[in-house]
Structures are given as C-alpha cells and as structure tokens.
Symmetry: C2
Subunit: 342 residues, 2 copies
C-alpha cells in the first residue's frame, strides 16, 4: 500500500464471530489496515454481542437489518448462503466485497485472487465482488505458482491432511469434545462429522459428486486452473480430514514441462513471496501444523525432493495456517490491493 495515501476505508466484517471473522479483525489490526469505520456483522443470534478490535469492543450488528450504504470494503465469511443473499446488496451499495465462500468463485465475472499469485486479477471486478479461494488451493498455489512460471506445471497429484478448523468452530469443538470423551473411556458420539474424527481420519470433505470426487477435491482442480489462468493443468486430488486443530498440510507431486531439480526448486521457493522453506532432512527439519502453521502467515514448504517415478516430477510437503493464509489473511491482503487502488 501507498503510505502517502491517507484515505481510510469503512470496513464491514460479515461473520465476525466465526473462526475466520475473528482472525480477519486481528489481521486488519496487525497489518494497520487503514480502517475508517469498522462494522462487525453477524446473524440475529449473535447481534448485540461484542468483538474486540484494537483494544476496543465493537457491538455486532444484525446483517439482515443493516444498510450497507457507505461501506467501502466488505469481508464476507459467513457461508455460501449468506454471501449469495447479501454480497450483491453490498456491491450494489458501492462496497467491494471480498468473499470467502465458494458462492461466486467459479463465475467468470468474479476474479479469484491469491495476493501473491494473481494480484492483477483483483482489478477486474465487474460485479464488485472478489472471491477468496479455498484454503487448500490457496496454500498449494502460493508454493506452486513460482514453479509453474519458471518450469511449467503439467500435472499435480495432491493428498491433503486438513485440520478441523477448516470446518469451523463447531468442528474444533467436536475434536476437543471427542478427544476428552475417549480419554475418559466414553463414546466419541459423532455429531459434526459423519464418523469419529478424534484419533481418526475422514477421507471425505464436502459433498460427493458424480465423478466420485468430493466437492473439496474438485475445488483444487477448478480453482488451480482459474487462478493460474491455465486450463491445461491436470490436477488429481484426495482430500482427507485429520485430527489436527489448526493448519492444513499437503503431500504434493508435480510434473513439470521442464525438469526442475530439488536444489533449483529450493532456491526458487526461498525467494518466493509468502513462502518459507523449511527443509533440512533431519528430525524436526520440516514444517508441521503445530510447529509452523498455527498463527503464522507464511506457507511453509519442506520435503523438497525429486520424484523417484517420473523424470520431471518433484515432491513437496506444504503446510500453512488455513485460517490465516488460507482465509482471513488473504482476504485482508486482497483488501490491501483494493485500497491501493487496484
């Protein structure tokens, strides 16, 4: 952002009481976003309560009754249904909407932006709406975009290890509750997920589609192509929920047009925006959700090594905080692009 530009922006945060909404507020403060008026919004149920921002308490307003006139930037993270209903109203009133749901991601006239990857796309927003990608796509592309630009990625095979925070606050509570129950020799009693998540894995995120993939898996396919602007990239994903609170991890194999050595990839990623390489080939010399992801902004990349099964294959282990870079941080970074006149 241009520090000499003293303009301030009235910011609405829709879904302010959620895991992502709360993090959006703290990241706006951390990054000194030029907030004029701040309006936290939520459903009627949460309205009247308060959220903290820069040491002050803000009363949460009811989204349904709110008049968006005068809002410059609206950060939405309250689910697809809420976005579909209210984002167009905010946009019609003149706000730029940055939407964290999947409601508009695949619309041709809505840009899908990762701030380090395709910031220029944020400028073209005919509907006044910019979509924030899915968390697992976001972190994967921060790491893969530099490789794609330098060597050309033809194919991506990815297996995810996704934390429960990606499924919201109720999922965090479910993992904590089930873990406590099982340690006390009680039943796990699954509620939020179809089967027990504590000490277990669930190879199923979002709905199943006709091709046998889940919607979460197809997001990795659709969003990768849209963000990199290359429909020829082949993506084959498996998405798995793991009993981790915060931080998504991904075992990624890419095949490039031009051969890239592990050393070349390491050097390229070491200077890539938003990426931190942690790759020492010794105990602890790799990123993990607890040691690297939780509360950190970067996308961490380790286990960089050449594919044993393909002459132009490369393996990466990618870890990031799905609530920060995977959602709230990128939304605020996109707001910064908008504020900077983008």
């Amino acid at each position: 952002m241009n520090d000499s530009n003293n303009r301030r922006f009235n910011v609405a945060v829709v879904g302010a009481t959620g895991a992502v909404g709360e993090t959006m507020l703290s990241i706006l403060a951390e990054r000194n976003f030029p907030v004029g008026k701040l309006v936290p919004l939520a459903s009627e149920r949460s309205a009247g309560g308060t959220v903290g921002y820069r040491g002050e308490e803000y009363v949460i307003e009811d989204l349904a009754g709110f008049d968006p006139t005068g809002i410059d930037i609206a950060l939405f993270s309250a689910g697809g249904g809420v976005s579909k209903e209210y984002a167009p109203k905010f946009a019609a009133a003149g706000a730029v909407v940055i939407d964290n749901s999947s409601a508009f991601r695949y619309d041709d006239d809505v840009p899908l932006v990762v701030s380090e990857v395709n910031p220029e796309a944020a400028k073209l927003r005919p509907r006044g709406i910019i979509a924030n990608p899915n968390c697992s796509t976001m972190q994967m592309l921060v790491a893969l975009a530099p490789i794609h630009r330098a060597y050309g990625i033809e194919r991506i095979n990815v297996a995810t290890y996704q934390s429960v925070s990606g499924a919201g606050r109720s999922a965090l509570e479910e993992l904590a509750r089930q873990t406590g129950a099982l340690l006390a020799f009680q039943d796990a009693d699954p509620r939020r997920f179809p089967v027990q998540i504590a000490f277990n894995l669930i190879p199923h995120i979002d709905d199943f589609l006709d091709n046998g993939f889940t919607k979460e898996e197809m997001k990795l396919v659709w969003e990768t192509r849209k963000i990199l602007g290359d429909e020829s990239i082949q993506v084959n994903p498996t998405a798995v929920r793991v009993p981790v609170f915060y931080g998504h991890s991904e075992a990624v194999n890419v095949e490039t047009r031009e051969k890239v050595s592990a050393a070349q990839a390491r050097a390229l990623l070491a200077s890539a925006p938003g990426v931190k390489v942690v790759d020492e080939r010794k105990p602890g010399g790799y990123p993990t959700p607890v040691t690297h992801a939780s509360g950190h902004d970067a996308v961490f990349v380790g286990r960089i090594r050449e594919d044993l099964s393909h002459p132009r294959g490369l393996n990466l282990w990618i870890v990031s905080d799905n609530i920060r870079k995977g959602a709230a941080l990128n939304a605020v970074q996109v707001a910064e692009l908008v504020a900077a006149g983008g």
Copy 2:
C-alpha cells in the same frame, strides 16, 4: 492348511511382550494354528513375566540364554538388531524364522512374502528365514497386486497416513500422554518423536537418506518391486505419521499399462483375497482407521475413482490394521504356509 495333517509345531515368539508379539499370540489362537510347544521370548528385562495364550499364562523366557533346539517356527518381532543376532541361530537349529524386522528383507536369499500376493516365495528359503514386509507396503500390495496382474502397474504415487502403533508401544503411550497433557493445558514435551504428535502430523518416519526420502518411504519402493517381482514398477512415496492409535491409511494413485475403470477395479477388488471394498460415495461410506482397521484382518479399499489427470490413472484409499495384517497376521499366515508344507 491341510486339516488332515495332524502335525503340531513348536513355536517361539520373540518379542512376545511387544504390540506385535502380543497380537501374534492372539492370532495364533484365533486361527487355531497347530501349536505344539509355545515359547514366548523377550529380553532379560521382560523375562520371568507372563503372557496369556488360550486362557493360560506362559512364562516369558530370556532370549539370550534360550536354546532353540526343537523349535519349528520362530516368529521374530523384536527389532532389527535382535533379528540379526538371533534369527540365524534359530535357523541353524532347524527352525523356520519369520522375521518382522527389516534386517533381512532386501537380501536376495531371503524371501519377502505377503500371504495373498506371493505365497509361493515362502518355499524358497535357503537361509531358513522368511521376511515379513513393512506394514505400509503390506496393505498397499494386498490391494494393488490384483490390479497389477490384470492391468499392469507402471507407476505408484502414494501418500501415507500412518498410526503411531507402527512405532511400538512407547509411541502409543506418547500420543496418549501428549493428548492428555495438552487437554490439561500442559506442554506436550516430545520424547519418542522429534516433535509433538498429538493434534499434529510428522512427515518423517525412520531415517533420512541421501536422496531426500526417508527409509520408510524407500521401503515402499524396494519391497513393492521385490514382492511383485517386477523391477520396472516406479514408486514415489511420502510417509507421514498421524495422531491415530491403530490403522494405517494410504492415498494411492496408480498408472496402469491398460486402462482400468473404477467399476472394473471395484469388481476386481471385491473378489480379491484379503480385500474388502467399502466404497459408497456417501457420508461414512469409506474406510477409516477407527471404523474399519482396528482389530480387523482385511485390507479395506474405498474412494475408488479414475484419475482426473491421467488417462490410465486410478485412485484408491487403502486402510488396514498395521499391527494385524501389517505385521502379526501376515507372519502367522506365512507360518501357515510353512506348516502346510510350503
């Protein structure tokens, strides 16, 4: 086994107090293995204690002072060092050693046997030693061998999700202890693993090698080729420890010489020995470690779907009890092959 053959076998279980050793004893009983004399063996530290078998207590003898004369079959699961020292002595005394460690797996004159995949290999054992494969290879090949035979596998990309029981009893204790500590707001205090495993992932199992892969990963490469008897199969593995007590899971992508549809793969696997297909494309319609692996003999396969990124690619989600099929059960099944005159 031939039921009309009334011969009984004197069986030694080396490492009888370990997670795998205990399961070997219960599987010998479950499957009515024709045990004559049973001798549980362990280190001096455990000697003098007892283990249960068919409702009776057996005193554990000290391996170091034990004379193997008269033992017909010795099941070893006490680590590579113990196997290297004692397995040849048991074999020299006339026993057939079935060894669960990696000490002899890559020796040309030691067969590496998965009972459903290459049972004939158990007959050729010039050193009197048969090796049991690594748990992650074992379950993968029970599912992949039928596909390889019918369609020819050229390449395997696998990301594992391995439970802590694969690292032994101390690892089970570490996950339980750390989980309890963290729920009580205390430090995880990593001891058994280099970083916290509770609510975390560790992309590192066994030592790092010069090529950047871990030894656990290379076992998947070396053992797949040896067991399938095909050095042309390309394998590219990522091995990750997950906070699950029992059951290993694997996201597997294979490329075959001939195209195999998801329906063909499902039909083939439905009748494959040792495999159970759980693949309903609805919530809960897939195997998970807790719902399917723990205490079950089969290798469970779900999420069967055609690769989006390759015309002859196929995806599978493979789950099995790493202590049973991945170790103790296969060892007993190999003992059955030996007992049947193999």
